[in-house]
């Protein structure tokens, strides 16, 4: 737990603090500790089985939530990082390279928000510039050339809205990734591990199998953005989160994602190794299923082709 934890986690924090205090003398306080532990898990269950959409947003952005670099270290071996877009720069908001997953050679790309303040600044809080998307595309094409399956990890507030990003064609960079990803002749598996922020997330998300961790979110706009633009009231973010239908559960119902990956009770941050194990199983199963498809790009296109709701 962290002091920066969201409000709804505070009751848990309180109990944990109490337990810690009693643990100074574990033998004497054994009974009380056991009771509190039980209370802790009960309270946690109660909170986490009734999460509101906005609480999921808070979990997706939780300061202790595992980031892409954690999944990379926890689930992949022999990672070889590749840098740069060969055009302008190396964008640290996106990490990508070659690796092995369960002994299978692959490419892996994801957005990285960074943990420490220094790292967050270096990684631009996980908000890629055009060169980040162009680096990602370069690695995707490399994967295609050498017939490697591609895994992408999505965790971004969105593509960076800045002067340089506009000058260097942020819109074009995203658009090209959408078009090119759609055509990749390799299996593409994407997972939203935290925040799926609009076009900046989708630019890594055109996949054969799209999954979301149970407490991640994926949305056309942030609840805060929606609140200030549509509700004309920045304080309405909670309500905006509800109407936007941005939870994994919503997206599964809308046919936008293929799978919800469960999280340990209390969220991925309570037990990252467990989370890696759960996600590894899902990735392996998804890869096995997609490997059986004859035409990866056509399979991908058909999925997206039928998205949307209208009447005739």
């Amino acid at each position: 737990m962290s002091e920066l934890s969201p409000e709804f986690e505070k009751p848990l924090l309180k109990i944990e603090k109490k337990i810690k205090g009693l643990e100074v003398n574990p033998i004497k306080n054994e009974k009380e500790i056991t009771a509190l532990r039980e209370k802790l898990s009960k309270t946690r269950r109660k909170i986490f089985t009734n999460l509101s959409p906005f609480q999921r947003v808070q979990l997706a952005r939780h300061p202790l939530r595992p980031l892409f670099s954690d999944y990379l270290a926890g689930m992949f071996t022999n990672f070889i990082e590749l840098h740069g877009d060969r055009l302008f720069a190396d964008d640290a908001a996106i990490i990508g390279g070659l690796a092995e997953f369960n002994g299978i050679r692959c490419a892996v790309i994801g957005q990285e928000k960074g943990k420490t303040t220094a790292e967050k600044l270096k990684r631009n809080f996980g908000m890629p510039q055009p060169e980040g998307y162009r680096k990602a595309l370069r690695i995707m094409k490399l994967a295609e050339k050498f017939s490697l399956p591609l895994f992408t990890f999505i965790d971004t507030p969105g593509a960076y809205p800045g002067i340089g990003a506009e000058e260097r064609g942020q819109a074009r960079a995203i658009a090209v990734n959408l078009e090119e990803m759609m055509q990749l002749q390799i299996p593409v598996i994407a997972v939203v591990i935290g925040e799926g922020g609009s076009g900046g997330a989708l630019a890594l998300g055109v996949s054969n199998h799209m999954m979301m961790l149970a407490n991640s979110v994926y949305s056309v706009i942030s609840p805060e953005g929606c609140a200030s633009i549509l509700f004309r009231d920045a304080s309405k973010a909670e309500e905006a989160a509800k109407v936007l239908k941005l939870t994994a559960q919503d997206l599964l119902k809308l046919g936008v994602i293929d799978e919800i990956v469960s999280e340990p009770m209390g969220g991925a941050h309570l037990n990252p190794p467990k989370q890696f194990e759960i996600l590894s199983k899902s990735l392996a199963a998804a890869l096995e299923a997609i490997n059986k498809k004859r035409n990866y790009s056509e399979h991908r296109y058909k999925k997206f082709r039928q998205m949307g709701e209208f009447k005739t």
Partner: protein
Amino acid sequence: MFFFIKKSEDGLWLKCSACNEITYKKQLVANSYVCAKCGNYFRIGGKEYLNLLCDDGSFIEYFSDIKPTDPLNFYDVKKYSKKLKEAQKKTGTTDAFTCGLCTIDGVNACIGALNFAFMGGSMGSVVGEKITMLVEKAIKEKLPVVIVSASGGARMQEGILSLMQMAKTAGVLAKLAREKLPFISVLTNPTTGGVSASFAFLGDIIMSEPRALIGFAGPRVIEQTIRQKLPDGFQKAEFLLEKGQIDMIVERAELKSKVAEVFNILKGGKS
């Protein structure tokens, strides 16, 4: 800078929002909706762009039966279903994209235009589906495609489904490219967000009207993020041309002939 048409009481006279000059409507139309006095571009709708680009009487509308729903039961200060009805009443169209087949200076083409007056020209399921169907039609008929954009981006009221239209339209354009059929994207004021970050920036040729605002993020969002004022002319068509992001700036009155010229060289489709 916003350009809009202020209707006089009888609707025959229009006032320029930049110089206040009052012009007879017929005259303005003849001048491609550009103020004869100050050169200001009046903001016009998708149908006006179709009139500007298509040979007289050649346009046949397609896919007009695709209508919007309210898949999320969305509301903000108003219900989305209500906003839709208001926009439909205001524009006389079911959604923000009108498309079909036409000839442009004699060249057969598939054409579509976004209408900014319909919820900011935003792309939801209907816009995405119609663009996809239009491009599929082009593939089937072996025709070139031209799309005129004017949009704030993805339609927030349809949430994630709007976002997915970006991938869908990009995907169908990849198919068009494989058939070696040309796609001209015409950007007008404004073209931003999920529209610029998908089909609008995937043109073989990208042309823009003068002074149009074009970008990924809107200027307000950028200013709030970087906490500084943006330089003059930032994200205007002229700026994008200088930065290498678009092929050319074309005066509104020249759009039609320029599109036909490009199609005549690229060929690719039936002529």
